[in-house]
């Protein structure tokens, strides 16, 4: 029996892949879109029997992140797995299927005065893709990233078995937390099918206080003054070419008082607005995106290195969250060797702070010149975990660190 027929016996939507559906150019032989968790499990089981390599796909907003797969026999599209499974507003938790777009989830939650405290930098992105890439925005300063908000996870293993961890209560230490392990795992450990998150109340009021800054040191001083004050911001961001923005959320009288305090801290020409400054919560402009994690003190030296990139027609753009995470966008005009030079220089300066830089995406010619991940000291441990979950290396092979 042909693989397509075997899969069609267990899944209502199976078809050959189209050239336009390539994952970083690797065209899937087949595409399956299971409608239920049980159907997804059957698809994975058949894929295991046929030894097919499997790459999951959500809304394709970050399918170009990471390295191309070595093989892609079967693309599992989660768009039909888009149900809101359970939302008990009194418990401040929600369970949704992997293919549910975060925007839509947010609308439903907002009707109940609640939110999943994760920004959606790329509209349309799904629950599953956000977990798989560990993506977050400015709210990470206060609420963290998907790993900090996920409380339960359902996956389909490489062998087609359905496994759960965590649950639907926020406070729970029973068993290993596979939810956190799967955050940022790029589809290499299993197929994410459902996730449960803790929620937060939507704030009654919010305000952004912004101020222009003159250079790296001024940017750093502004961020520090807010971080070490009692105004309790939800987010503190630096946005190149030179703005520091502070998001305050809470009750109306509280927010206005804190906005005034923040204005005093930032000094001079700081302004308060009810709308976000330009570029807030978006990835920086550029064709190559680098994710940086480093302590807050790394901001100034990092900006200094990036200010003086030779060969760039357009400037390098940076966004930086006060909690110690940022993004760097390299302009299209940068030659591959020059992009590699920037990455090397960036890693060198970050290394002094034990910071890291990971490339998310880059044009093909640039990609070939870049070490996407940089050094990974616990690589042996990671390989062993991978070998347990996916002994035949069929799940998103090659997409992740060390060729995992």
């Amino acid at each position: 029996m042909r693989p397509l027929d075997s899969l069609a016996k267990v899944c209502g939507d199976v078809r050959p892949g189209e050239p336009a559906e390539g994952v970083l150019g690797v065209v899937p032989s087949l595409v399956a879109a299971p409608r239920t968790v049980a159907e997804a499990a059957d698809v994975m089981r058949v894929a295991a029997e046929l030894e097919l390599s499997v790459v999951p796909r959500g809304a394709e907003t970050r399918l170009d992140w990471g390295a191309p797969p070595r093989r892609c026999d079967l693309l599992v599209d989660t768009y039909r797995l888009d149900a809101l499974v359970e939302h008990v507003s009194g418990d401040l938790v929600v369970k949704a299927q992997a293919g549910m777009p975060l925007d839509r989830l947010g609308e439903t939650l907002a009707d109940h005065g609640q939110r999943l405290a994760l920004d959606v930098p790329l509209p349309g992105s799904t629950v599953g893709g956000t977990i798989a890439t560990g993506a977050a925005g400015p709210l990470r300063s206060l609420y963290g990233t998907p790993r900090d908000l996920i409380i339960g996870l359902t996956i389909v293993r490489a062998d087609g078995r359905v496994a759960r961890s965590g649950g639907k209560v926020v406070k729970n230490v029973a068993g290993y937390d596979l939810g956190r392990l799967f955050c940022g795992s790029f589809g290499t450990l299993g197929l994410i099918v459902e996730a449960t998150f803790r929620l937060h109340p939507l704030p009654a009021a919010r305000a952004w206080v912004t101020r222009a800054v003159g250079g790296p040191d001024e940017a750093y001083e502004a961020v520090q003054s807010v971080l070490h004050s009692p105004v309790a911001p939800s987010a503190v961001e630096y946005l190149s070419p030179g703005v520091v923005g502070v998001l305050l959320e809470g009750v109306p009288e509280g927010v206005s008082a804190r906005a005034q305090q923040t204005t005093d801290l930032l000094g001079g020409e700081a302004r308060t607005s009810e709308s976000a400054p330009q570029g807030w919560g978006e990835y920086p402009v550029g064709t190559t995106l680098i994710d940086v994690t480093a302590p807050p003190t790394a901001l100034s030296p990092m900006l200094t290195v990036l200010e003086n990139v030779p060969g760039a027609g357009e400037p390098v753009t940076v966004t930086w969250s006060g909690s110690g995470n940022g993004h760097v966008g390299l302009p299209a005009g940068l030659a591959p060797a020059e992009a590699a030079g920037v990455l090397t220089a960036l890693r060198a300066v970050l290394a002094r702070y034990r910071g890291v830089a990971v490339v998310r995406y880059a044009p093909r010619d640039v990609r070939d010149e870049l070490d996407f991940w940089g050094p990974v000291p616990p690589m042996a441990l990671m390989r062993r975990v991978k070998d347990q979950f996916d002994p035949d290396h069929r799940l998103s092979p090659g997409r992740f660190v060390g060729g995992i």
């Binding site: 009194g90 649950g167 639907k168 406070k171 937390d177 305090q261 807050p296 990974v376 441990l381 035949d392």
Partner: protein
């Protein structure tokens, strides 16, 4: 001591010096349990390393000898997670108590695993910072233990658990290799799964913690209700109003009675339940929300609301709550503590059912709980001198856990599974779920020597790790299939 352990003890003495290796049976016995005294085992050997390198050397020596090892911080755990092995080595971190670095601009601290939780906050406080996880045992529990158990505390409702406040851990892997796992590093979030793995994936030797800015304002009130139901209604109203308190704690009549007998906390007489609500944050935020909370308590039927006027009064309000566990000794010769969690909205139904269970069995149950997150600490009281009483208490205790699972909750919110609740894991998780979790363990510790017998009721056989299957591509030669 058998000859295998004796040989290992000599090897460890050679590596660490004899003052760091304990083999004297009397001294060994002082380590025979953690905070849960009904599980006991005298360790074969106790070692007191002073550095990460020494921990690595110990683990390598254990691995070479095929001897199991268990790490222990201050021994305050409540699930037998640090229960030693008679045939193994207990690695005690009591001599690794340096705060290595206090990095104020970056709001983080680097500490050794034996550092006491509260000492981190004490060191940070002059700089306007503190370490947020605050388990009740914070005056004596270690940060390394907090990492193993993913400890919470009364304030985790707002501030989260240890996992949210640990930025990196240097660990000795079960191979004896020293490696750092850090949040945000490329690759799998191994730190995420390591924190809360109850010491089964390696031994922590250094921890980088996030420090939190001290809140500008803290306000605390105590509200007395006629019944637990009325108190529960106030909790629901507060949460529904979008308030995220730093803590909401509830005690029922029996636990109030115990606390009163022990510490004379002078809670309002005649209360069927008291609620402690604490708000913290920027002054104007707290002021606005605190007035709402006070009103919601009265609306739900509070017959008395006391607002703490200062730190001393706040301490008095908390005194009764914090002493509740120990205080139960005043009204009962023995008790079991549970740590089940339920969705907050199930609180009235579950508490009513616990009352029924208590009435049916004649076993008294005192309730103290973190009402904000549905984490119950039912104290099941019994007289250990009475024949069959312990068994009856055990039955009620187990039934309460079943009740938590039935309502979609968990068997443990903060105490951990350890040895104590491993047998309940199959009630909450399927065989496949447990098997999948143990894949992580097999990846880290295929030999199963690192704190074995904890968390999981039955170990998974890790087996041979299959290599990359080198066969023909499944579509090879079938290009015409479409």
């Amino acid at each position: 001591m058998d000859s295998e352990l004796r040989t290992l003890a000599l090897r460890l003495e050679a590596l660490l010096g004899s003052d760091r290796v304990v083999t004297d049976p009397v001294r060994l016995r002082t380590y025979d349990c953690d905070g849960l005294a009904n599980h006991r085992a005298t360790p074969g050997i106790v070692v007191l390393p002073g550095s990460a390198e020494q921990v690595a050397a110990i683990v390598r020596a254990c691995v070479a000898a095929g001897v199991p090892y268990v790490a222990r911080g201050s021994g305050t755990g409540l699930s037998g997670g640090a229960l030693p092995r008679a045939d193994g080595v207990l690695i005690v971190t009591a001599r690794m108590r340096r705060i290595v670095e206090l990095d104020v601009p970056n709001r983080r601290a680097v500490v050794e695993p034996g550092v006491i939780n509260l000492d981190v906050s004490r060191a940070a406080r002059p700089h306007g910072l503190y370490f947020a996880p605050d388990p009740s045992s914070q005056q004596i529990c270690s940060v390394g233990g907090n990492v193993a158990e993913n400890s919470g505390g009364a304030h985790c409702l707002k501030y989260g658990f240890t996992a949210h406040h640990v930025l990196a851990c240097e660990i000795v892997t079960p191979d004896g290799e020293l490696v750092e796992l850090a949040a945000g590093d490329p690759g799998y979030d191994l730190l995420g799964v390591f924190v809360g793995a109850e010491g089964t994936l390696g031994v922590t030797t250094k921890i980088t913690v996030r420090l939190t800015r001290l809140p500008e304002t803290v306000r605390t009130l105590l509200a007395a209700f006629g019944s637990v139901e009325a108190g529960g209604a106030a909790v629901s109203a507060i949460i529904a109003a979008g308030v995220v308190p730093a803590a909401i704690e509830m005690m029922d009549a029996l636990s109030i009675e115990a606390a009163e007998a022990a510490v004379r906390c002078s809670y309002p007489p005649g209360a069927g339940a008291v609620l402690i609500v604490e708000l913290d944050g920027p002054g104007p935020e707290v002021a606005a929300q605190f007035a709402d909370v006070e009103r919601m308590c009265r609306d739900a039927g509070a017959f008395e609301v006391r607002v703490a006027a200062g730190d001393a009064e706040r301490a008095l309000i908390w005194k009764g709550r914090k002493s509740a566990f120990a205080a139960v000794g005043r009204i009962s010769p023995a008790y079991l503590v549970q740590d089940g969690v339920i969705p907050r909205t199930a609180l009235p139904r579950v508490l009513a059912r616990i009352d029924e269970l208590s009435a049916e069995s004649g076993v008294r149950v005192a309730n103290v709980f973190h009402a904000g997150d549905g984490n119950l600490h039912p104290l099941v009281l019994f007289d250990d001198a009475e024949e069959g009483a312990a068994e009856r208490a055990e039955t009620v205790s187990g039934a309460i856990l079943d009740l938590c699972i039935e309502h979609g909750g968990s068997i443990t919110g903060e105490h951990g599974v350890g040895v104590d609740k491993a047998r309940y894991m199959p009630r909450m998780f399927s065989d496949t779920d447990l098997d999948t979790m143990q894949m992580v363990r097999c990846g880290f510790d295929p030999a199963g020597l690192c704190n074995p017998g904890k968390v999981f009721p039955t170990p998974r056989l890790c087996g041979e790790v299959p290599g990359f299957r080198k066969g023909p591509h499944p579509f090879e030669g079938k290009a015409d299939i479409f």
